[in-house]
């Protein structure tokens, strides 16, 4: 619909579909270039450097130069790697992320398709991304890749659950508010959730939800402080350690696209996307600016967290998800259910969620203080991961396929 309106002509469905695909690919590539450049510049500032300066004006062409280098680089496959898993893994990691573009609302009418189950679609499709990561990890026949892949899979599964639950809580609030206008069943569509945030961004109604979403997002994206799957000092790059050239580039592209999309999703769900604070009346030009400003602020926060926080240990990461985030997400869903079914006002929902957020912060602070008091700050070897893993034995003859 978007493109037909743009061009002012009607075209057959299949041309429309192809145009949309081209649009997504172009947007995705440009976004990845911009994000990589932005990340290098911002990170450099945090570390009292200046970042790339040589290629193009103030280094802006650096990403393009890097991409050219990647394309022309030799594509190496280790001789013991599993051919099919190794070669198909980058695409398996990349395509799901690409599909997540479909329901993202950049303005009131600019999206690929406004899916009624848009939120569920995002998580269902994004979850497939991890299959590619696991294929890469296993197919590389490298113990560091395997370790990284196992970590990535464990992390993705653990953090997906609190994230999904918190999205359920947000949908409950949205359904309650949309029911006033008549159509509560639209609450699964991201665009109608944004459309409801004309005066109140949902961060005020669900502050705990925003917090858990951001934490889960960082973990899903393997961003610091949750970057154990790709930590250079521990698993020398993780699941893509054996990749080079454009296949490695595809993993990179998938990662940055997922970062952009999840940030757009977070700003749509909690910060009012194109809507708040000016309402739907402002022109589309201003709506896209609003979306991009919110997205940029959050991206700077995400990149800043890379420079500011030390990396966690894998057992800390798992405990935090299962013992802290998951119970609080469940409590939030139950609390929303109780408040909304008795017709509680918006400020009650917001206050309860804020109370839960304070409780979560207090709990984490208390646990950390107590652990420090015990003097057990040395690294405890928990038997969870390291003991069990036995890397596959390298049998050079085997290499399936050749």
């Amino acid at each position: 619909m978007v493109l037909s309106e743009f061009a002012g002509v009607s075209m057959p469905d299949w041309i429309d579909a192809i145009l949309r695909i081209i649009f997504i690919v172009a947007l995705m590539t440009i976004m990845a270039f911009a994000l990589i450049y932005g990340e290098r510049k911002i990170l450099a500032r945090f570390q009292a450097r200046v970042g790339p300066t040589r290629t193009g004006p103030i280094g802006t062409l650096q990403s393009i130069a890097d991409a050219l280098k990647l394309i022309t680089k030799e594509d190496v496959r280790p001789i013991t790697a599993d051919r099919w898993a190794f070669e198909l893994a980058p695409y398996m990691a990349f395509v799901p992320v690409f599909l997540v573009f479909v329901p993202m609302p950049f303005t009131e009418t600019w999206f690929i398709r406004d899916l009624n189950l848009g939120l569920l679609f995002v998580f269902a499709v994004l979850g497939l991304n991890i299959v590619g990561v696991v294929m890469a990890a296993w197919g590389s026949d490298n113990k560091y890749a395997l370790l990284g892949g196992v970590r990535a899979a464990a992390q993705a599964i653990s953090y997906e659950i609190p994230m999904l639950l918190i999205v359920v809580a947000v949908v409950m609030v949205a359904a309650g508010r949309l029911a006033v206008d008549g159509d509560a069943s639209a609450a699964g569509s991201i665009n109608s959730i944004v459309g409801d945030q004309t005066t109140t961004p949902y961060i005020l109604l669900q502050p705990l939800g925003f917090f858990i979403f951001i934490i889960g997002m960082l973990a899903e994206l393997h961003r610091p402080p949750f970057d154990m799957p790709i930590a250079e000092s521990e698993v020398v790059g993780g699941y893509f350690v054996e990749y080079s050239g454009m296949r490695w580039g595809l993993f990179f592209l998938a990662e940055y696209t997922a970062l952009f999309l999840l940030v757009v999703l977070a700003s749509s769900l909690f910060l009012g996307g194109w809507n708040w604070p000016f309402g739907a009346d402002v022109g589309l030009g201003l709506q896209i600016v609003l979306t991009l400003v919110k997205t940029t602020v959050m991206i700077v926060l995400v990149i800043g967290s890379r420079a500011l926080f030390p990396r966690l240990r894998i057992d800390q990461l798992m405990s935090f998800s299962w013992k802290v985030l998951l119970p609080f997400a469940i409590i939030q869903v139950i609390a929303n259910g109780i408040i909304l079914s008795y017709g509680g006002a918006d400020w009650v929902v917001g206050l309860v969620s804020f109370g839960l957020l304070v409780a979560l912060g207090g709990l984490v602070y208390y646990i950390m203080r107590r652990k420090q008091g015990e003097g057990t700050r040395t690294v405890q070897t928990t038997p969870a991961t390291p003991r069990v893993i036995t890397a596959p034995e390298v049998t050079p003859v085997e290499a399936g396929g050749d």
Partner: protein, 172 residues
């Protein structure tokens, strides 16, 4: 998709071929990781069939639960074992029993399909998509007891897994 039956049928046959090929792949792949990957393709095909039947919700849940979570857990388990080695023997002494069970299941399924009287709608436009709210209302009002029982069952399974996995010393 607007021009009706033909496009849907083409998509159906493509999906059917994908599903059949990957289902055969699951059982014939000597490598068990390949089998798990074929399994994903087969389940994605099932999700596609759900999409044709206009139940997007079930299709997405299929992808979310089976496509990623379950298969990832299977792959996770396989990667921690020596899954790269071929199984020594694909068929054991219980081969006749397995063949009998498979044939029995096949007979039951085909019998069920043949015995059912299928109601055909007048045209494809007569099919009304089932809304998410309808499904939600059904689960949380009429079918609330089965829903709660399934929930309890899953929590017990989760608790049991934690009990099995937790180390003897309670240092956590």
């Amino acid at each position: 998709m607007e021009d009706g039956v033909t496009a849907t049928q083409v998509v159906f046959w493509i999906l059917a071929v994908v599903m059949l090929v990957s289902a055969i792949g699951v059982i014939t792949a000597g490598n068990i990781v390949y089998a798990a990957l074929f399994f994903i393709a087969a389940l994605a095909g099932v999700a596609g069939i759900y999409l044709i039947l206009t139940v997007e919700f079930i299709a997405l849940v299929q992808l979310l639960i089976y496509g990623s979570a379950v298969v990832i857990l299977i792959l996770f388990a396989l990667m921690l074992t020596r899954a790269r080695e071929r199984p020594q023997a694909l068929f054991g002494r219980s081969r006749p029993l397995g063949i009998a069970a498979a044939l029995g299941l096949m007979a039951a399924l085909i019998g069920g399909i043949v015995a059912t009287t299928w109601t055909t709608p007048e045209s494809s436009s007569a099919i009304q998509p089932v809304g998410l709210q309808t499904i939600g209302d059904a689960i949380f009002t009429i079918w609330i007891v089965p829903f709660i029982i399934v929930g309890v069952l899953l929590s017990i399974a989760l608790d049991g897994a934690i009990m099995l996995a937790s180390p003897d010393e309670d240092d956590n």
